[in-house]
Symmetry: none
Subunit: 235 residues, 2 copies
DNA sequence: ACCCTTGCGTTCATATTGGTCCCACCCAAC
DNA sequence: GTTGGGTGGGACCAATATGAACGCAAGGGT
């Protein structure tokens, strides 16, 4: 029906190897991204950007730490901008200074993630960015005001609670396991049958996962009655 | 409770005097902003920025047109970034090219307003920016993740009006995607076949889009039978 | 000119699911 | 033992696509 968009090429810029690895691992767990490289300081980050652009495989996104041995993250952002590279930046840093936050946003940082963070927080920010990008990647090269607003809205969507009420960890994992093991899309009724839980409960968890962008929600047509939602795990 | 925040100093960059005046007038009608100057081309805009910064009254926000006689708006944004000035940019332009939109957001444009626009739209974007700024101007110099998220969320445009009855978001999206990807005009029957939905449903959504002026409706004659409506996506 | 054919527009009842409210049950804390 | 929070599930109403039936506007033959 529709073609899968190409993965978003990500450069991780982080001087602590442990943290850099963690970011890379987290990244792999989210669909739609591919790790294009890692840099431990500002100079090598800029070099990697340049090389990737010259190789015809430009970086799309940088996960940028602010505290680096040679350059400050804001300086790196400035260098990137003056180079005119079309790369987006998500700041991932322990710096909580409001001035830095403001300056980062002025410099075109699209998300600002404060360390330490949970995987859920990380995944949410990245998923927001992925949706934002997909909305602006439409084949029609022109945008309406509504298109732009919707794209920005998905980029800046507010935070979701750690785990909303009415949801339990065990049931959630059961649903996730079922979704992962199931090849095609699956409906709430089918989850009900497979797991022996009620339709209401199945729907509650599936909707949560859909809101979290970890499953894709589509509608099944062709039969009378209200269309049935189907949920598909995103690899 | 707390003192009134100082007004946000705005520089209007627009080559057409009429439009520049309009922006200035609109700006006066919104609280919390003060017009710091007007520039008709890129060079004078950069000069004005520099002078304001040296005079100790830096510009906070630029309303930036993309099409200027000497420099492109994106170039101006790039110059500003490489200068390291902490100034935010709202793009106000007739350019609807998605590449430009993406590049603008990468360059740190916080809002993108497509001309022509209504005063309500203009006021909404500016008010959003004002709220965003106020949230990051808190006397506490440190931010939590929640603070940052809330501030970014206020930059986000509120969700569009709810859909009329009998229409669902997902189905509408499917129809829109199909229309966008289809070059020529398309009939209700063809939408039925392509999406696997019924003719009645396809027509309901196409009629809605036609009423919203987002698709153009024409009639096809020449074949036996009642003339068939065709719908064409408007770029 | 008239009528028949043809295929879409329109309306309505129906089927089936989504969404919400509220209660039963479980478990932990006191 | 009692109380309180929280999860799961039944019941109900709302929502939405479908299918059939009818109406309508054009083409084409007599």
């Amino acid at each position: 029906m529709n073609t899968e968009p190409p993965p978003i090429r990500v450069l991780v810029v982080e001087d602590e190897p442990i943290a850099a690895d963690a970011h890379a691992v987290y990244l792999q767990r989210i669909g739609g991204f591919s790790l294009a490289g890692t840099a431990a300081d500002g100079q090598s980050a800029l070099r990697a950007l340049q090389q990737a652009a010259e190789a015809g495989q430009p970086i799309d996104l940088i996960l940028l730490d602010m505290n680096l041995p040679d350059l400050h993250g804001l300086d790196i952002a400035r260098c990137i901008r003056s180079g005119g590279l079309a790369v987006d930046i998500i700041a991932i840093t322990a710096v909580r200074d409001l001035k830095v936050v403001r300056a980062a946003i002025s410099s075109g940082v699209v998300q600002y993630l404060i360390k330490p963070f949970t995987y859920a927080m990380f995944a949410e920010k990245l998923a927001n960015y992925r949706d934002f990008r997909q909305q602006l990647a439409s084949p029609t090269a022109r945008a309406s005001q509504n298109d732009v607003d919707l794209a920005l809205a998905s980029l800046r969507a507010p935070t979701a609670a750690p785990l909303p009420k009415r949801l339990s960890e065990s049931t959630l994992t059961a649903v996730v396991v079922l979704l992962k093991s199931h090849a095609g899309p699956i409906s709430a009724s089918e989850v009900m049958d497979r797991l022996g839980i009620s339709r209401v409960t199945a729907r509650r968890y599936l909707e949560y996962l859909a809101d979290q962008q970890t499953v894709r929600r589509t509608a099944r047509y062709g039969t009378p009655g209200r269309p049935e939602n189907e949920y598909l795990w995103r690899g």
